[in-house]
């Protein structure tokens, strides 16, 4: 396979400017990650310590195999919601290695308000459990949450139920789950350990009950301590709700590691086909290629060259539908079929996509979508040519895919292009965005102009003719809102992706994701009706 010949001039002014701007964006992202993971008020840390508990990151350190990578999912969930005061939506989820097995982890973070559930908490858990279902990955639950936040009850109710429903489906699919009960599992949360194949509870701090002491007192007048109605001894000796007693958190984690060690080894549906080879071009150069302005296009072959093995790429249909680059490459030895936007999607690029996707399904090659899209081409000529039905072909092929799909948004994700290129709703096994990304139904300028025009017309109808300053202010207000809501942090806060990813970490994340995806069998491809 031939090496991509990079055209980037690393000594150019444009490269230097991009590099500076992107490095600042990435540094800001890493800083926010660091704060979300580790920065907590001193009194909250003191409270956790006084309870004799470990912090969630300390638990993960004990649980994960030393020296192995942990791919955290949606680390910045809720970062732009609840005034940014609920780090990661009070829960850590991720893909890691325990006793040599790839597993998904759900770890409650009780360092903020006792780890209570906000609306985004079950949404993050449901997404992790969906990943577990799609990829047949075992799940380890580290339970320590105060239950639903009383001011968010209505938001938590429906999505919370799906956490438990997904746990049942995992069990039905034969995917093992283990729960470690470090703190309280109250109300719905009590079902988490109860629905696991194996559960461990720490004596003294662990508790599992449908109704906690205050609720029981209010309902029946009975007065009990938490330990009396759902502690370690009650559940491991009397009720049989929990399987293993532990005297400390470290002991509980050791028991869990031993349970995982005897899981049956995974049967993989695909394997690396070559020895991995690092990219020939330095991945750090991505910072100089991508402009922080999403309107400035760059050649995605240059990005491919800095992600795939040996920067080698076999381009499919290099002369047809050139605004979509398609071809084969290897990532950590795994063969992938790549689709990457190099401009607007036309009829030819859409048909090329549909064809290439069916090829990859036929030869069992996982698909990697590198998104930088402002959508499908519009206009009378293009409609006559059938742009809408050709886009529909692309959607049909993509949605009907049986091979695993992965999506990385490198700059822009606007309009229906985001759908065609396997956006969140199209069930990619994993989807990430870089921190520079802008996304939305339409660009902030378009949204601002359209909405402002509508509002101005509305004012006029009501007999008020807005003057120039009023109109400018209105436009600016709409623009600023649209701009804020097209930001990568806004999207990741609401779980539109599985997290933001620094460009230079993309290759490693993909390697882990491919290995994880190989845990599930690949069905035969079949599709709906293609409109010809």
């Amino acid at each position: 396979m031939k090496r991509i010949e990079s055209r980037i001039d690393t000594s150019s002014e444009a490269f230097r400017r991009n590099h500076e701007a992107m490095s600042a964006i990435v540094a800001k992202f890493r800083e926010r990650m660091e704060i979300t993971r580790h920065q907590r008020p001193a009194h909250e840390i003191k409270r956790v310590r006084n309870q004799g508990k470990l912090l969630v990151r300390e638990r993960l350190d004990l649980l994960l195999d030393p020296g192995t990578p942990f791919l955290e999912l949606s680390a910045l969930a809720a970062c732009e919601d609840y005034d940014g005061e609920v780090p990661g939506a009070n829960v850590v989820t991720g893909l890691g290695v325990v006793s040599g097995r790839e597993v998904l982890i759900h770890a409650d973070d009780s360092s903020v308000k006792g780890g209570v559930w906000y609306t985004l908490t079950p949404r993050k858990l449901v997404r992790m459990l969906d990943i577990a279902l799609e990829n047949r990955l075992p799940v380890l639950h580290l339970c320590d949450s105060g239950g639903a936040f009383l001011e968010e009850l209505s938001g938590v109710y429906i999505e919370g139920g799906r956490v438990f429903r997904n746990q049942c489906l995992l069990s039905k699919a034969g995917v093992p789950q283990v729960a470690m009960v470090f703190g309280h599992c109250t109300a719905g949360g009590a079902y988490i350990p109860a629905l696991c194949d194996y559960s461990i509870i720490v004596r003294g701090t662990g508790g599992v009950f449908l109704g906690g002491p205050p609720l029981v007192k209010a309902a029946t007048g009975e007065e009990h301590t938490a330990d009396e109605i759902g502690g370690c001894d009650l559940h491991t000796q009397v009720s049989g709700t929990v399987d293993y007693p532990a005297d400390s958190e470290a002991q509980a984690i050791e028991i869990c590691r031993e349970i995982v060690a005897q899981f049956k080894p995974a049967v993989r549906s695909f394997l690396p086909e070559r020895d991995p080879e690092p990219p020939y071009y330095d991945p750090d150069e991505i910072h100089g290629i991508v402009s922080p302005d999403h309107k400035v296009l760059f050649d995605q072959r240059e990005i491919i060259a800095r992600i795939v093995d040996g920067s080698r790429f076999h381009e499919y249909q290099p002369a047809y539908g050139t605004t979509l680059v398609c071809g084969y490459a290897y990532v950590w030895g795994y063969r992938v079929g790549i689709l990457a936007n190099n401009g607007v999607l036309f009829s030819d690029s859409s048909k090329k996509a549909a064809h290439f996707i069916s090829l990859c399904n036929q030869n069992r090659t996982p698909l990697l979508f590198l998104q930088n899209t402002t959508g499908y081409m519009i206009g009378r000529n293009y409609e006559m040519e059938g742009i809408t039905k050709d886009g529909a072909k692309m959607l049909m092929a993509q949605a009907g895919s049986a091979v695993p799909k992965f999506t990385v948004i490198t700059s822009a994700a606007f309009g229906a292009g985001y759908y065609g290129m396997c956006g969140r709703a199209w069930d990619p096994r994993f989807i990430w965005a870089w921190p520079n990304v802008h996304m939305g139904v339409m660009g902030p300028e378009q949204a601002a102009n359209t909405l402002a025009d509508v509002k101005i017309a509305q004012l006029r109808r009501n007999g008020h003719a807005p003057d120039e300053t009023e109109m400018t202010q209105l436009r600016r207000r709409v623009y600023e809102k649209a701009e804020r809501e097209s930001n990568a942090y806004f999207a990741t806060s609401r779980l539109w992706d599985d997290g933001l990813l620094a460009p230079t970490d993309t290759r490693n994340a993909l390697g882990m994701a491919l290995s994880a995806a190989a845990h599930a069998p690949i069905a035969d491809p079949h599709y709906g009706i293609f409109r010809f």
């Binding site: 001039d9 302005d293 400035v296 402002t374 959508g375 081409m377 300028e445």
Partner: protein
Amino acid sequence: MRRRYLIDGQTHDVVVTRGTDGAVQIARAGRRISARAEPLPDGRHRLTIDGREHAVWIASSADSVFVHSNATGAAEIETVDLTAAAGHARAGAADALTAPMPGTVIAVHVAVGDAVVAGQPLIVIESMKLETTLIAPRDGRVRAVHFGVGSSFGLKAVLVTLADA
């Protein structure tokens, strides 16, 4: 895989087939050669070619491999890319820069007669909210710039033509 190598100015056309056991079969001018390479602990490689063993040092760059053995000295093996020019045989195909999308010219970086090198930015266009820089596909000279700043053009319109330098 069909390969062309250049050794000491001489061209060698071979077909390389990988076996499942790490061995490769090389077919050259009707002759079949069985070969295998294994790393040795001292950093050298053991090449086994039709049963004969050679311990060699191997160093590789982007397009060349240098093989050195104490017995035969050093040899450079250059790989000739057989598909690099694929599809470019159509007369002047690489000389006409066409618009990948309909749009407007927002900057022209070259003038007629300018010498350009492959990869050099020639013209910047805007279409569908995107700014695209078109680069020279090869070394050459600018023969014509067909649209100035502010002009609109359709899909596949020829924007710049190049000539030999």
